[in-house]
Symmetry: C2
Subunit: 145 residues, 2 copies
DNA sequence: AAAATAAAAGACTTTTTTATCTTTATTTAA
DNA sequence: TTAAATAAAGATAAAAAAGTCTTTTATTTT
């Protein structure tokens, strides 16, 4: 199993791509995004529509339209994307799938995974959408293949 | 997204249950296991058949038959179960799903997730199947609900 | 040898995830 | 005000994961 769903992988890659490509203002179209992150265009469209409805990214129709990020969106952390797409199971769920697993009723892996989950949550909370722009511009980080 | 697939969650819970229930020798049947970990019986049967084929657990047909663990199996770590069921994507895959993500061609989250992945791998490598028996016997750890 | 027991195997169904294709609505610019 | 551009929405489809049910095979006990 992967850490994130395919949908969430595409979502994160797309948002970072939009951030990087529109850092100088302007918008970017779905075709260019799908191509830039190597994802199926129409499937990605659905994902971005959803993120747009949830206010995580912005969009505009018509000529010169496309996707972009507003001031608010730029300050969001990666966990906002993950929670919007995959929910909070990764941060709060039991590793062994037990609904009632808790401090007082722990599964065998409860304590160990509590630590790991909080590390993941902390990492995704700390990393902001816009903070990868520079390295992406320099070609030091990859979002496709 | 959860950390493990549902199949893998059942697999881990079932193997720990078998270990605990057969610690004194003897075998345990699929019905009792499914009931003990709150999983669908026939679905679990398939999972255990697979683990049995792969030598991670043992089984015997006929009256007084059932599932059990041999000497070798008891020494295995949880990562053996995870790798058998979910493969090694959790330990080696790119968080953003990029096939060619690597040290020289890293995704934006490569370094952070390298650490997290190795912590998970280390945890699962360290924990042995038999080491939960005592706490399970004392009712201090839960495998169902 | 027959009956009973229990896992193994096979066929099938349902649900979820991932993906594709077509049509509609909105906006801009000529 | 019409044509072009572009996201939004809807309808399917394909693939994978999860779950169920039935039949077969192997083993043991009587």
């Amino acid at each position: 199993m992967a850490v994130f769903s395919k949908t969430c992988e595409y979502a994160i890659r797309a948002v970072l791509f939009i951030s990087h490509k529109t850092a100088a203002g302007g918008k970017i179209g779905i075709k260019e995004i799908a191509n830039g992150i190597d994802s199926p265009e129409h499937f990605l469209a659905k994902i971005l529509q959803d993120l747009s409805r949830k206010g995580i990214i912005q969009s505009a129709k018509g000529p010169n339209g496309g996707f972009y990020l507003d001031e608010h969106a730029l300050k969001l952390s990666l966990s906002a994307i993950v929670e919007a797409v995959d929910g909070d199971a990764l941060f709060t769920g039991c590793a062994l799938g037990l609904k009632q697993c808790s401090e007082v009723n722990p599964c065998p892996l409860h304590n160990q995974f509590k630590t790991i989950r909080s590390e993941i949550h902390n990492l995704l909370n700390t990393k902001k959408i816009g903070e990868f722009n520079d390295e992406l511009a320099l070609g030091l980080r990859c979002l496709k293949k």
